[in-house]
Amino acid sequence: METVVQQIQGVPLNHYILFCSLIFTIGVVGVLIRRNVIIIMMSVELMLNSVNLLLAAFSAYSGDPSGQVFVFFIMALAAAEVAVGLAIIVMVYRNTRSVDINALNRLRG
């Protein structure tokens, strides 16, 4: 076990932080820019996964298992959210026949 941890700690923490921030930013940009709602859902998942990775990294580096427990929670949450989100997308498609987010502008002032 010790060697696994040592191996993991061979990669400096900064790399993990940078990497996860990058992935998170890519996820944010994806949500803002893409027009297909399914791609947006995927970008949201990307954001969640980047956070998961970071939490696991912090947990490994500080030896505190509560980070990994939190990861479990996030995964469960992400699954539930995807289920509901996809259900909504299906209903939206059935009503507007499109998965383009710009089609949903009826609340325009």
């Binding site: 944010v28 803002l32 987010i101 710009n102 949903l104 502008n105 009826r106 609340l107 325009r108 002032g109």
Partner: protein
Amino acid sequence: MIDLIWVIPLLPLIGFLVNGLGRNVLPKALVGIIGCGVVLAAFLVSCGVFGQVYALRQAGEPAAFTQPIFDWIRAGGLKVAFSFLVDPLSAVMLLIVTGIGFLIHVYSIGYMQHDKGFARFFAYLNLFIFFMLLLVLGSNYIVMFIGWEGVGLCSYLLIGFWFKNSAYAGAAKKAFVMNRIGDLGFLIAVFLIFSTFGTLEFAGIFPQAANMAMGDTTLLLITLLLFVAATGKSAQIPLFTWLPDAMAGPTPVSALIHAATMVTAGIYMIARSNILFTLSPITLQVVAAVGICTALLAAAIAITQNDIKKVLAYSTVSQLGYMFLGLGVGAFTGAFFHVITHAFFKALLFLGAGSVIHAMSDEQDMRSMGGLRKHLPVTYFTMLIGTVAIAGIPPLSGFFSKDEILAHAFAHSKGLWVLGFIGALFTAFYMFRMLFLTFFGSFRGSAEQKGHLHESPVTMTVPLVVLAILAVLGGLLNVPSALGGNHALANFLAPVFADSAAKAGTVHLDHTTEYVLMGVSALAALMMAFVAYRSYVVKGVVPAVDTAPRGWLSRLSYRKFYVDELYDALVVRPLNLLSVFLYRTVDRKALDGIVNGLGGAAGESGKGLRLLQSGNVGFYIFMMVIAVVALLAYGIVNG
């Protein structure tokens, strides 16, 4: 009877309420009976009160009673009770107000018979009597002020009685506004009095004041402000121009308000506060100066006026000037005596003029009259008595009262006597001019007017006769010792003016001087009467038409010395310009600009913010991201 004093003002108030509320339902006869009846009842109670006061004075008592009605204001140190004061001064005023008021009410039954507002007229007259009685009976400055303001209001209502004519309504407004300017002086004086003496009751103030030094500055200020109030109410310079315009009202109004009662309120107020004035010799000089100037100015205007009522109006202003002259030289009793006699003959003259106007089918220009002696004998004879009285020809009442004032003026300053004498010359001249133009010579009016000429009904002639008798006998009230009299009025009023007499000392002229003065003024009056006779009867001069060219002196007099034009330029137009400026620039541009601007700004910002609601979900998410980043940044910076 003294405890019934509260009944005296209550009766006219009831008359006002009944006639006012029932003006459209009550028959004219009933309105007349109620209107005159309440004043007659008030007069009878006043006689009873006067009798009691007289009896006490004969026994040598000071005879001053206060009857509190209720506690009115109680705020901190200020305690004002609604209470009445009966003493010799107010007892005499009660008789004048109710007595002459009653005669004028009876006269009005005949004069206003054909007017649609008959009941409204009587209601207003009764209201006026009520307020005048409050003024006269008040035992403190506040109740007096209620009456003071109230008579100003009634004056407005009555001058503008025929309000559909905008010129008359304008005259009423002018009277009210000028009165109010004076009222400001009264109010500030009351504030000063309260801060100096701690009370507003006469019985509290005057004993305290008697202990103050002669020429005290606070008293000087108070008395000057009270005099300003008196100039407004009693039509002295500079606030006199409302009185000639007030002739727009019906003639009984002119007789009651602007001859006998309201305009004498100023003199009553100063007589009541005599100790304050005696201790302020500067104010008394101002009073005398203003009085004599007003007397001369008004007399100079009266000699060229052609409207019979305007002559009497300027005559009133002039005689009021004499009364103030009397007050200014310390002749308090003399001035008050002149108030009484003036009430008699001026009311008589106005009612007589009303009778003439009534007979002339509402014509007031004397150039259309003439020779009315034969058609209106009673009116002529009573007006002759009134004219002789006002000219100061013995033994009628005007001679005694005017002479007492002039004698005191002579003792005070020879110059004042000379000016007063000149004024008396003018008075005799213009009054006889009026008499001769109206009643002598041949009739100059239209044939239609001539057909309508008739003597007035009994309701109008009886008051004339009563007033004529009073004008003849009124002099007996205060015959000076030089003529073997016992100056009854002076003795009667002695306790009211006692403190002043103690401070100022009494005036003594030796009898020879008095005889000379009396003789000179009587002869001069007769001479001016003769001059007027020669001009208007023997030579038959008729005053020129309005457009005829006049010499500059005559023009000055005919155009009332351009005082109205002066006030228009100095006061009215700047105020109008200020009002227009405030309306156009401050109100419309600035204030409305601010309010509309705020509304506009709200609208514009709303329009701008609405664009945020684009309906674009991507935009909303973007805003969310921005907000989260901002919060994080804030947390990091302040963390």
